[in-house]
Amino acid sequence: MPASLIQPEFKVKIDYDKCHKCGRCVQQCGWGVYSFNERPIPDDTKCRACHRCVTYCPAHCITIQKNDLAFRDNPHWTPALRKSVWRQAESGGVMLTGMGNDRPYLNVFDHLVLDACQVTNPSIDPLREPMELRTYLGRKPDSVEVETDGNGGFHLKEGTGVSNNIQLETPIIFSPMSYGSVSLNVHKSLAMAAERCGILMNTGEGGLHADLFPYQDHVIVQVASGRFGVTPEYLNRGAAMEIKIGQGAKPGIGGHLPGEKINREVSETRMIPTGTDAISPAPHHDIYSIEDLRQLIYSLKEATGYKPVGVKIAAVHNVAAIASGIVRAGADYVYLDGFRGGTGAAPQIIRDHIGIPIEIAIAVVDQRLRDEGIRNQASIIAAGSIRSSADMAKAIALGADVVAVGSAALMALGCHLCQGCHTGSCSWGLTTQKAELTRRVDPEWGAERLTNLVHAWSHELQEILGALGVNAVESLRGSRERLRAIGLDEQTCKILGVKPAGL
C-alpha cells in the first residue's frame, strides 16, 4: 500500500533552462520541499504554496501550480472532504490547521455598499480639509457634567468626564497574536508599528517579552485561560488588559502551542518549561459564569489602579446577550471575533463550522447595547477577517468603534495564507521559533510595512468619510443609514439594520 492516498495539493515547476542552480530555493523553503542534486529537485508533497522560493528565486524560474487532479463529480463529496476522510483514516487524529476559516460561506461585507454625497450635501475632500479618525477606546459616561468658572467659562465637574480611555489615532489595532505562536521579531514589528501609528498591539496569551517593554504604552496585555506570563508587573505594564474568553477561529476551545515552538525565550516569557506543549484550558477555570467574570475584571482593575479591561469573545449565536452581560460586568470594551478570524493552530473542524460572521455580531451587539442604553459604557472592537479599509468602514458603520487586524498584519510581513502556522516551519519566519527562519523578519522592516498598511487604510477611510460628507469617524460609527445591502435576504437585512439598495 502507498504511505498515503492523498496526492500533493501543488506542483512545483522549475524552468531548468533558466535556473542558476544557486540553491537559494533549497535554503529559503521552511517546509523542506527541495533537495539538491546538481539542480534543485522539489518534493511536491511538502509544498504549501507559500511562495517563499518563488519570491526569492533570482532567475524567476519557479512557479507553483495547483495539482488539478480530476475527481469524479459529486458536489456532496467534495475532493476536500474525501481527502479529510483519507487523512483521518491514516492518522486517527484531529486535523489541525492555521489561519482563518476558508469555507465559502456568504460574505456579508461583500454584500454591503457605502453611500456618497451628491448635490444636497457636499462631499468633503480629505486632501484639502481635516478628516478626523481619532478614537477613544473605553467606557464613557452618559453625559458631561460641568461647572461654571464664574467668568463665563466652564470646566469639568470634579471626578466626571471621560477618563481611563485610550486614545487611538486611527480606529485600527493589531489583534492578539501570542509570542510563541509568532516570533519575537513579529512582536517587535507590531509593537514598533503600534507606537508609530498611535495605536495598540496585543500580546495574545503568551506574555510580554522584555524587549517590548519600551513600547508598553501601546500594548494590550492579555489574560487567557492558561494565564501564561501573567504577573502583576505584566498587568501594570500594559496600556489596557484583556480577558480572552474565546477566539473566532476556535470558539469554545482553548489554545494549543506545540512544544516544538517553545524554546528558551518563549519558555521564560510564558513561565513554562521548554519543549512542553502549552495548552490553555477551554474555559477559564475561575470563570464559570458572568459573576465570576465580573470578579476577574475588578481584580485586574484593582491590581493596576483601574486601567481599562476588555473582554474578548468569539462571535457565537447569542453574542448580543453575552456582550451585554460583559458590559454590565464592568468591561471597558468588548472584543468580538468573527468566525473567519485567524489562528496559529486550531482543529479544522472547529475553525470551519463554529461561530457566526463578524458583520452579524457587530450589528446585533451594537443594537442590543443601544436597546439597553449601555452602548456608551463600552467600546466595541471588531475582528475576524477585516481584509481592507472597505471592510473596516463597513464594520464601523455597522457599529464597531475599532477594528482589529491580525491576518492582514501578518500578510504585511509576508504571510501568504498557506495555513501552516501550526507546523512551526513558516518559511516567512512569522509563525515559527526556528532561529534561521525568525531572523528573516527584521523588526525595522516589519514595522515600516505595518505602519504603511495602517496609514494606507487610514487614508482610504478618510477618502470614504469624505465621500460620505462627514469629517470625523464618529459620524460614520453606527450610521447604518449609510449602508445598503445588495443580494441579502430580508431577514439578514433586518438583523443588520440595513436597508436594501434602492430604498
Binding site: 461654571t148 466652564f154 469639568l156 468626564g161 460628507g469 464618529e474
Partner: protein, 424 residues
C-alpha cells in the same frame, strides 16, 4: 375623544404596534406622517432677528428678510415664528392649529374644552394671497390649563401642555399643533415665505424676536405641518442643511428614548437640543460645541482644563455631533441661537445694529432690513451666535419633566413615536 390623556394616559395596549426597523421594509405608514416616509433632502434659506433691548418690531421685517432670499426656496414651504407677539395674553398658552376638516376641529376642541379654560378661540387672521392654495383650516386658541384638572394630574403646566400636544398630534386625525408656547406663535405653510407671511398678515404682529425659513425640498411633501419652524412649547427651530450623520444621530437619540420618525434632520437637531440643554443641563455654549465640535487639532492646543472638557464632550457626544452642512436658528422666549456646522458648509451671516442682532443665510437680508448695520460678520464654523433679550429668562424649561419619547411624540405627532410613552 376615545382616549383621556390625563386620566387614562393613552394605554399602550391600545396603541398600534409598529416597530421602526420593520418600517424600513414597508410596514404600515404612521397615521399622521404626511411627510415622506423617506428622508427628505434639500436646501433652504433662513433668518433670525432679535432686539436684545426687548423692543418690538413688525413681522414685516421678517417677511422682507425672507423675500430677498426667495431663490433659496422652491415654494414648497415657508414659515416664521414670532416672540412677544401676544402681549394681551402673555400668560396663556397659545395653540396655533391646523385642521384638515371640521371633524378634526371638533375633536381637537373637545380636548381643549375638557382640559383647558379657553379664553379666546378664533380663526387665524389670513388674507387671500396669490400662490397660496390648499390651506388647512387655521385656528388659534388662548388657553390656560383647567386649574382643578392640572392639580389632579399632578403635573407642571408645561408637562400638561405637551401631553395635550402629544394627544392631539397623535390621536386626533387631521389635526396638527403648529405651536403651543406662551406669547409666541408659528406661522407656516406651503408656499414662498413672503407669500406665507402676507397670507398670515404678519405685518400686524409686533415681536422682539423673529425667525423665518424658506424651504427647498427635493420632493413634494405638500404638507403644511412639515414646513419650518418646528416648535415645542416656546422653542422653535429652523434649519438649512443636510445632516450627513443623520443615521447615527437618530440611533444615538433612540438609545435615550427619542423616536426619529419624520425623517427630517430638523427633528434630530430639536431632540439633540432637548437632550443636551434640558435633560443633561449643558450650557448652551457647550451644547453647541458638542453639536459642531472643534477639530482635535484645535482641542490639542487648548489650555489643559479646556482640553479635558472638550475631549469629554467629543468622546461622550460624538454620536450626537451634527456632521455635514447645516445652519440652524433656535428661537425661544428670550432670544435666539444660531449655529453653523463645524467646517461651515452652509452660509450663515450675522449683523449687529445697536441692540438688534440678526442672522441670515445671505447678507442681502441684513442690508434689506437693517439698512446701516454697525457690524456684519461671518460667524466661524461651529461658533454660536447667541442673542438674549434683556431681563428675560434663560430658555430652559425647568418645569418640564418629559421623557424623550414624550418629546418625540409631541413634536411629530406620529403614533409610532408615542407607543413607548409610559403609563404613569
Amino acid at each position: 375623544m376615545t382616549y383621556d390623556p390625563l386620566l387614562e394616559r393613552m394605554p399602550t395596549s391600545r396603541l398600534p404596534s409598529f416597530s421602526d426597523r420593520e418600517g424600513v421594509f414597508g410596514g404600515e405608514r404612521p397615521a399622521y406622517a404626511e411627510e415622506s416616509p423617506f428622508k427628505i433632502h434639500g436646501g433652504c434659506g433662513l433668518m433670525g432677528i432679535c432686539d436684545e433691548s426687548g423692543k418690538l418690531m413688525s413681522g414685516e421685517t421678517a417677511i422682507r428678510a425672507m423675500a430677498v432670499q426667495r431663490d433659496r426656496g422652491n415654494g414648497l414651504g415657508g414659515g416664521y415664528a414670532g416672540y412677544g407677539i401676544y402681549p394681551e395674553f402673555p400668560d396663556h398658552f397659545c395653540f396655533h392649529m391646523m385642521y384638515h376638516d371640521l371633524a378634526a376641529k371638533e375633536a381637537a376642541e373637545a380636548v381643549f374644552d375638557q382640559y383647558f379654560v379657553i379664553d379666546l378661540a378664533e380663526p387665524m387672521p389670513t388674507r387671500p394671497v396669490k400662490g397660496i392654495s390648499d390651506a388647512p383650516l387655521l385656528w388659534r386658541y388662548f388657553l390656560a390649563p383647567d386649574p382643578h384638572k392640572l392639580e389632579m394630574a399632578e403635573m407642571t403646566a408645561e408637562d400638561y401642555v405637551v401631553h395635550t400636544v402629544m394627544l392631539i398630534n397623535s390621536k386626533v386625525d387631521g389635526a396638527y399643533v403648529a405651536s403651543s408656547g406662551k406669547n409666541m406663535g408659528a406661522f407656516k405653510g406651503v408656499g414662498f415665505p413672503e407669500e406665507i407671511g402676507h397670507y398670515y398678515i404678519l405685518e400686524e404682529y409686533q415681536g422682539h424676536t423673529w425667525v423665518g425659513h424658506n424651504r427647498f425640498p427635493t420632493n413634494t411633501p405638500g404638507w403644511w405641518g412639515g414646513a419650518h419652524p418646528f416648535t415645542l412649547l416656546d422653542w422653535s427651530i429652523v434649519h438649512n442643511g443636510e445632516i450627513s450623520s443623520y443615521g447615527i444621530n437618530s440611533r444615538y437619540l433612540e438609545a435615550f428614548g427619542y423616536k426619529c420618525t419624520l425623517g427630517t434632520d430638523t427633528e434630530v437637531a430639536a431632540y439633540l437640543f432637548d437632550l443636551m440643554l434640558r435633560r443633561h443641563k449643558l450650557p448652551m455654549e457647550l451644547a453647541c460645541k458638542a453639536l459642531a465640535s472643534p477639530l482635535w487639532s484645535e482641542i490639542d492646543r487648548m489650555p489643559e482644563d479646556q482640553q479635558a472638557l472638550m475631549r469629554s464632550l467629543r468622546a461622550v457626544y460624538g454620536p450626537g455631533m451634527l456632521n455635514g452642512p447645516f445652519a440652524i436658528v433656535l428661537g425661544f422666549n428670550g432670544g435666539m441661537l444660531a449655529l453653523n456646522d463645524r467646517i461651515k458648509l452652509r452660509p450663515l451671516v450675522a449683523a449687529r445694529q445697536g441692540s438688534v442682532l440678526m442672522v441670515a443665510s445671505e447678507e442681502s437680508a441684513m442690508r434689506e432690513v437693517l439698512k446701516s448695520p454697525d457690524k456684519v460678520w461671518t460667524p466661524k464654523a461651529g461658533e454660536p451666535v447667541i442673542a438674549r433679550v434683556e431681563g428675560m429668562d434663560w430658555p430652559i424649561h425647568g418645569d418640564l419633566h418629559l421623557s424623550a419619547s414624550e418629546v418625540s411624540c409631541a413634536v411629530t405627532g406620529v403614533e409610532n413615536s408615542c407607543e413607548t410613552v409610559e403609563v404613569v
